[in-house]
Amino acid sequence: MHKRAIGAAAVTGIAALLMSACGGSTTVAAKPSTTEAAVPAAASTKAPVRDAAADLVIWADVDRTPIIQKYADEFGKENGIKVVVQVATDVRPQFKDATKVGKGPDVIVGAHDWLGELVQNNTVSPVNLAAADAAKFAPQAIAATKFNGQSYGVPYAVENIALVRNTALAPTAPTKMSDLVSQGQALVKSGKATNILLQEVSKTGNAFYTYPYLAAFAGGGIFATKANGDYDASKVIVNSVGSVKGATELAALGKSKALSTNVDSTNADALFDAGKVPFYFTGPWSIDKAKKANIKYAISPLPSLAGGGKMQPFLGVQMFYVSAKAKNAAFAQEFVTKYVPREDVQMSLFAAGHRPPALTSAYVKATTADPDVKAWFDAGKGGQAMPNIPAMNSVWGPLGQASADVIAGKALPQARFDAAQKEIAANIAKG
């Protein structure tokens, strides 16, 4: 009771603050990964209770649990142990809280951008994949599993946003933003479409979808990178010349009504699935619904911006972590380093959610099974992994709001992004 009481009291103590600290940070920071988890979360948000009788405990989201269970059973049989895969509705905070009181799982499945926080709190341990095995993965996926040069897990999928279009309205894919806008405007004018383009913006903005605009221009982005490829938290480049060019593009799109702060996560999918919008910047998480709505769609890379290059999406990598407090570290390491890199495991995980596999051979197989996979992958080419450094926590809010203000025409790009830069730098300095 004592340890639990501390946990429970901690929650009630700073009641709303703590509760929403978990919820808040994940909905913003882990955007691509939580989109799918949002639905089952409504059913039950209770954290799973670690099965005390099990020799290896894995926590995953509801979609991946049955698949992992299949291989967990195989692993259990091979080693004569009981392996349990449990559904965690919100893996990140539940793992953190449970690990703190010694009730956490041995392995978790989640997004790579949690890594900074997990390392900070010493909740994950390094995973030493042999160099030969690591070489079988897409290099950007392996890079995403690293923090300060140390590798902390094994990836199984890479996902990113792309241009999804309704082929009934837009048979050909525009490669330039100006073409996209003019095609869309013509459709809106003729009454065939209600919107030119959909992109989650919302009143408070969404930095995840803002980044591709900034990164389309040389020197634009959020953080500069160090010589070893890591993001440098001390060099924020939100108001660099390149970034401000991206912001100017956002303002122009807001002005031409291609982007609107009234489109947000609650209505974007529904609007696209109504069949009256030609273009949608989104990720694989929107596809299942579009299919159900009988929308004929096609996926292509994000368009290029005038005066810059192609819009560069963030890559989100899904991976297996091993807990630093794992009660069964040997089994956990064995499962993650020997089972997850298997082609059949990666292919099975691909079946749930159709995210392009991180293992190259599995990816190649997946492209023949589903042509979308290649399209998503091509759209992500050249993209950088979403920062997994803790400093990213200070970016989501201010950068999102800056982009929303610019799109709404409430502020001028240069001045607004200067202010955001200042605010982000001050937040990071706060530590």
């Binding site: 009771m1 004592h2 340890k3 009481a5 501390i6 009291a9 901690a10 103590g13 009641a15 709303a16 603050l17 703590l18 929403s20 600290a21 808040g24 940070s25 020799d55 080693n79 142990i81 926080e117 390392v119 900070q120 709190n121 010493n122 341990s125 030493n128 042999a130 030969a132 923090f147 300060n148 040069g149 140390q150 009143k203 408070t204 702060t261 009234n262 947000d264 209505n267 570290a329 040997a330 089994f331 390491q333 064995e334 499962f335 993650v336 380093t337 803790p390 926590n393 200070s394 809010g397 709001q401 800056a402 203000d405 502020a411 001045a415 607004r416 202010a419 937040n427 706060k430 530590g431």
Partner: protein, 554 residues
């Protein structure tokens, strides 16, 4: 604390229990020590009641015994002591005839301690620390974790196939560990805590992949035995230059080297790869020369009054405070008043006996109260959408409800009215039914109009009952984090300033302040919530004082 013992107590204790001076009647019927005394005493309280009572006590004790067992498994002795104390309290209060007031108060007292006093104490405790992401662990753990995470595979070193073994006859769980390794070339090696040695190829048997399955003089551990040995997580076979052969999973080993080492004498960390020294500063390891990154693993420590001085001197907090405090007051007051007025009017309406189907209306009106705020707030927020929302569409408006500072405030108040009126409706319905009929009749006889009766009789009587609840509702709304967070997130934000939002309450504002840094800072959050606690406490105290005077009027 065995269960048997407790169940045994009633038989022995009850007949011997001393006479209760509060119940002289008992003394007459009961004769001490007589076997029949028990039956006769139960004549005062029937047998089924006694049985039920002891069943209930027994159940509580069984539950506590179960909890204690779990606690012992976890090794939480403080918890065991607390659980045992609670068990004794239950037994002493309900098992005897003493402490009659406590019989009523004990459950409440226990819940008060668990749900009110403990969290407050915990919050106060937290406010003096730097607790937050990156500062959750102890200093020693941060050192261990930094060193463990600095292990890098030695470049171009081979990977070995591994079998963990102990000497023949040694205990697999505790015996000294030996690593039987196979090089990629197929050469078998023996590693122990002293170093690497050759293993005669003739003495081993190998599996198809080259892994050693048998070695003369050694007993190879099974996967379960390897996993059970926690000492192997730290074990390394030393090789050249501080590197070591470490285990990966069950059957593989690599040669790795920890780049960081800790020097206890100077309390510094040294990174041998970058030749940088790290010193402890502000509960983190920072580079001594000020160049480069701090290690992400900091530790938790007491910071004294730093959080308090931080709150009082914080520039953003001070600049936004008055504006936010004013809106916070308006929000809480208007929310309480509007929900109360609407709830009361509906209650009055449905209190009229001439209305048919009242039960149906009443249950329908309670519905919004039954829905979770997470759902309602999100639904309302999408109904307020400027382009796609129901409200603008129905009313043919084009108001930017959630993007305009004033409209956002109105939208929040409207939503809160919807969320809050059922509560007031329930409360007022109850209070109205308790107003005695003769008072209303007297007013009627005196010739008071309906409005006059309402103003001079019903409302004053209603307020006596409802007044304290209004204050509670005020305190709740003052900190209505969920609604603001789900509706607007504190926005819209004006003047390129993301720290002060137009619809921010103190609590949402404090949330952003504490959690907008690189790492959520629970210590600072706890401090701010203490300040808010005092503000709400003071205002509620003043409110309760006034309702007292209200009672005196009547």
């Amino acid at each position: 604390m065995s269960l048997k013992k407790f169940q045994g107590t009633p038989e022995v204790q009850h007949p011997d229990s001393p006479d209760n001076p509060d119940r002289p009647g008992d003394r007459v019927v009961r004769s001490k020590g007589e076997p029949g005394g028990r039956r006769r005493s139960s004549a005062a309280s029937p047998l089924w009641l006694v049985v039920t009572k002891w069943l209930l006590i027994g159940t509580v004790l069984v539950v506590l015994a179960f909890v204690v067992q779990k606690l012992i498994e976890q090794g939480s002795w403080v918890g065991v002591v607390i659980a045992a104390f609670v068990a004794m309290c239950v037994l002493a209060v309900y098992g005897t005839r003493h402490a009659v007031p406590l019989k009523y108060l004990l459950p409440g007292l226990l819940l008060l301690v668990a749900l009110q006093i403990w969290p407050i104490a915990y919050t106060v405790g937290t406010s003096f620390t730097n607790l937050g992401d990156g500062h959750l662990i102890s200093k020693q753990e941060s050192i261990d974790s930094i060193i463990a995470n600095s292990v890098r595979e030695v470049p171009n070193a081979p990977r070995y196939l591994l079998s963990v073994a102990v000497k023949d006859g040694a205990d697999p769980a505790t015996g000294e560990a030996f690593y039987l390794l196979t090089e990629p070339s197929g050469k078998p090696l023996l590693g122990d805590k002293a170093g690497l040695a050759d293993l005669p190829a003739a003495s081993v048997e190998k599996a198809g992949n080259g892994r050693i399955t048998k070695a003369a003089g050694y007993q190879i551990l099974t996967a379960i035995q390897v996993n059970a040995r926690k000492d192997l997580n730290e074990f390394a076979v030393p090789t050249a230059e501080g590197a070591g052969i470490k285990r990966v999973g069950l059957a593989e080993a690599f040669q790795g080297k920890a780049n960081v080492s800790y020097d206890k004498a100077s309390d510094t960390l040294l990174d041998s790869a970058t030749r940088k020294t790290y010193i402890p500063r502000k509960a983190s390891w920072v580079p001594k020369d000020g160049q480069g990154d701090t290690f992400p693993q900091g530790w938790k420590e007491n910071v004294g009054f730093k959080n308090f001085s931080n709150v009082l001197t914080n520039e953003t907090l001070r600049s936004g405070f008055l504006k936010i405090f004013a809106w916070n007051m308006v929000f809480a007051v208007v929310s309480v008043l509007s929900t109360f007025v609407l709830g009361m009017l509906l209650a009055l309406l449905l209190n009229d006996a001439r209305l048919r189907g009242r039960a149906l209306y009443r249950s329908m009106l309670i519905l919004p109260y039954a829905l979770p705020i997470f759902v309602t707030a999100l639904v309302w927020s999408s109904m307020f959408n400027q382009d796609y929302g129901l409200i603008n569409k129905l009313l043919h408006l084009n108001i930017d409800w959630l993007g305009d500072p004033w409209a956002a405030k109105a939208a929040i108040l409207i939503t809160n009215l919807w969320l809050g009126f059922p509560y007031m409706f329930i409360v007022c319905t109850g209070a109205l039914q308790s107003i005695p009929g003769d008072v209303l009749e007297a007013a009627k006889i005196d010739g008071a109009s309906a409005l006059r009766t309402m103003r001079s009789v019903i409302i004053p009587l209603l307020l006596v009952a409802v007044g304290p609840l209004l204050i509670a509702s005020f305190a709740f709304n003052f900190n209505n984090f969920g609604l603001i967070f789900l509706m607007t997130g504190g926005g819209p934000f004006q003047d390129s300033n993301f720290s002060v939002g137009s619809s921010d309450l103190l609590i949402t504002y404090a949330y952003r302040l504490a959690f907008s840094g690189v790492s959520p800072n629970y210590g600072l959050a706890a401090t701010v919530s203490l300040f808010i606690f005092f503000i709400v406490g003071l205002m509620s105290y003043e409110g309760f004082r006034r309702t007292k005077s209200l009672e005196e009027v009547n």
